[in-house]
Amino acid sequence: MFSFQTIIDNLPVLAASARYTLLISGAGCFLGLIFGALICVAAVSRASAARAFAGVYVSFFRGVPLLIQLLLAFYLLPLVGVNVPALAAAIFTVGLCAAAYISEILRGALNAIPRGQAEAAMAVGLAPRDIWTRILLPQALKISMPALVNELILLVKASSLVTVVGIVEITRMSQAIASATYRPLEIYLTAAFLYLAINLVIAALGRNLERRLAW
C-alpha cells in the first residue's frame, strides 16, 4: 500500500540533503561561469597557444563522463599531494566540467554580437580587458541566459553523480532511506518531487532575470 506517512516522515531528511545538491550545482555553475568566460576568451584569442589550450580543454571535459572526472579527481589529487575535502573536490570538478559547456555557450553568443560593439570600444580607447568585461561578456551573458539556465538545470541533475566520492545529496540519501524503510516508491517519488521543485524555481528565476535584462 502506498504510504503518505513515509513521505511525510522522510521529507525533512531528504530536503536537508538537497543542500548538497544545491551547493554542488550552484557553486559548480558559478565556477563554471568564471572558468567558462576565461576559456571562451582563450578560444577566440589571437594567440594560437591560447586557442589550442581552449580546444583541448573543451574536448577533454566534454568528452569524458563527469563520473570518471570525479573519480579521477578523487584518486588523483591526493597522489599529487593535494588533500582537499571530497566536497571541495567535487564542486571544483563540476565547475571545470561546466566551464567546458559554458565556454561554448558564450562563444556562440559572442558571434551574435555585432563587430561594431568591440570596434566602438577600441575606437574610444578601452583596453582589451575592459572590452571583455564591460562590453562583450555582459551582452554574451544576456544572449545566452536561456542556455545558461538550461545548463544549471542539467547540473542540478548531474550533481547526483558526486555520490561516487561519498557525498550524500538527494539521490544518495533517497537510496539509503529506501533500503532502510523498504519503501522505494514513496522515497524516490519524494526525491523526484524535490528535483522538480528545485528546477522549476530555477527556471522561474531564469525567466525573471531574462525579463530584467531586456534593455
Binding site: 561594431g116 560593439q117 570596434e119 575606437a123 580607447g125 575592459d130 562590453i135 534593455w215
Partner: protein
C-alpha cells in the same frame, strides 16, 4: 533643438598625413597607394561609389583596419607601426594614440546594455581614469550639448536613430579628441532625422575640429567640407575644394559618379 555654445571646449586640432597607403584583403587590393593630407581644423569629405574603399581608408586612420604598406601619421606620429614597414605598435601605445581620434559609425554602435549617460561616461572612466561622479557630470553636459539633456537615462533601444547617433557623437567628443572620423553617419537614418545629426557635425566643424567624413550627403560635402576627396576602386582619383570637385569635375570618372548621383536623387523625388 538648442545647442550649447561649445561642444568641445577648446580643441587643439590634429592633422593627418597618409603616404602610399596600401591595404590588401588576401589577393584583393582595397587601397592602392593612397597619399593624402588631412589639414588641421578642416573638414575633409570622402566620396565615391560603393566598394571604392572609403570606409577602409577611414578605418586605417585609427588603425581599426591594419594597412599593409605606407604610413599614416597623426600630427607627426606614425600610427599602428613602430616605423614604416616595421613592427606592430604595442597595444598601450596604440590606445594612447586613439584617445586623440574620435570615431562615429554608420550603425552608431552604441552599447545596448548601457544608458546614454553610461555610453558616454564609459571611456571617461576607463580610459581617462576620471572618477565616476565627475565622469557622469561631463557625460551629462556632453549629452546636453547635443540636445539630449533629457535622455541621459535612456538605453539606446529607447532612442530614435538620430538621437542614437547624437549620443555616439557625444561619446566621441567627450573624450576630447583632436580629430574625428565619421563613416556615413547619416546613412542609416530616416530622412527626417538626418538634419539633427548634420547640425551637430556642422557645429563641430565650426569649432575647428579636424573632421574626416565619409558621406553620401553631397549637400553636406558641398557646403561644409573644406576638401573633397573622390575615390574609386581603391584609388584616390581626385581631390580639391568643393567648388573644384562639384562645379568643375575634370576627371571623367568623377563626372560620371556625380552625374549618377544627380540622376538617382532626382528620380527619388
Amino acid at each position: 533643438m538648442t545647442l550649447a555654445p561649445s561642444l568641445t571646449g577648446t580643441v587643439n586640432p590634429a592633422s593627418a598625413r597618409l603616404e602610399n597607403v596600401c591595404k590588401f584583403y588576401g589577393e584583393f587590393q582595397a587601397l592602392k597607394d593612397i597619399s593624402l593630407v588631412i589639414p588641421p581644423g578642416k573638414v575633409t569629405c570622402l566620396i565615391g561609389p560603393s566598394g571604392s574603399g572609403k570606409s577602409t581608408l577611414l578605418r586605417c586612420i585609427n588603425f581599426l583596419e591594419e594597412y599593409d604598406r605606407g604610413g599614416i601619421w597623426i600630427d607627426d606620429r606614425l600610427i599602428g607601426y613602430e616605423t614604416v614597414g616595421g613592427r606592430r605598435m604595442g597595444g598601450r601605445a596604440l590606445r594612447e594614440m586613439r584617445r586623440d581620434i574620435g570615431m562615429v559609425f554608420q550603425q552608431f554602435n552604441l552599447w545596448p546594455h548601457m544608458t546614454a549617460l553610461q555610453n558616454v561616461a564609459e571611456g571617461l572612466e576607463r580610459v581617462k581614469g576620471i572618477p565616476r561622479a565627475r565622469a557622469h557630470e561631463i557625460a551629462s553636459e556632453a549629452l546636453a550639448k547635443v540636445g539630449l539633456g533629457d535622455k541621459t537615462g535612456n538605453h539606446p533601444s529607447r532612442l530614435s536613430g538620430g538621437q542614437q547617433q547624437r549620443v555616439a557623437i557625444a561619446r566621441a567628443v567627450a573624450m576630447q579628441p583632436r580629430i574625428m572620423l565619421f563613416d556615413e553617419p547619416t546613412s542609416a537614418l530616416d530622412p527626417e532625422l538626418v538634419g539633427e545629426v548634420l547640425g551637430v557635425m556642422k557645429q563641430l566643424a565650426a569649432e575647428g575640429m579636424t573632421m574626416v567624413v565619409v558621406t553620401h550627403e553631397m549637400g553636406f560635402a558641398a557646403h561644409v567640407a573644406d576638401r573633397v576627396v573622390f575615390m574609386e576602386r581603391g584609388e584616390l582619383v581626385a581631390q580639391g575644394s568643393p567648388a573644384e570637385i562639384f562645379q568643375n569635375p575634370g576627371d571623367r570618372r568623377l563626372a560620371a559618379f556625380l552625374q549618377g548621383y544627380l540622376e538617382r536623387n532626382s528620380l527619388e523625388l
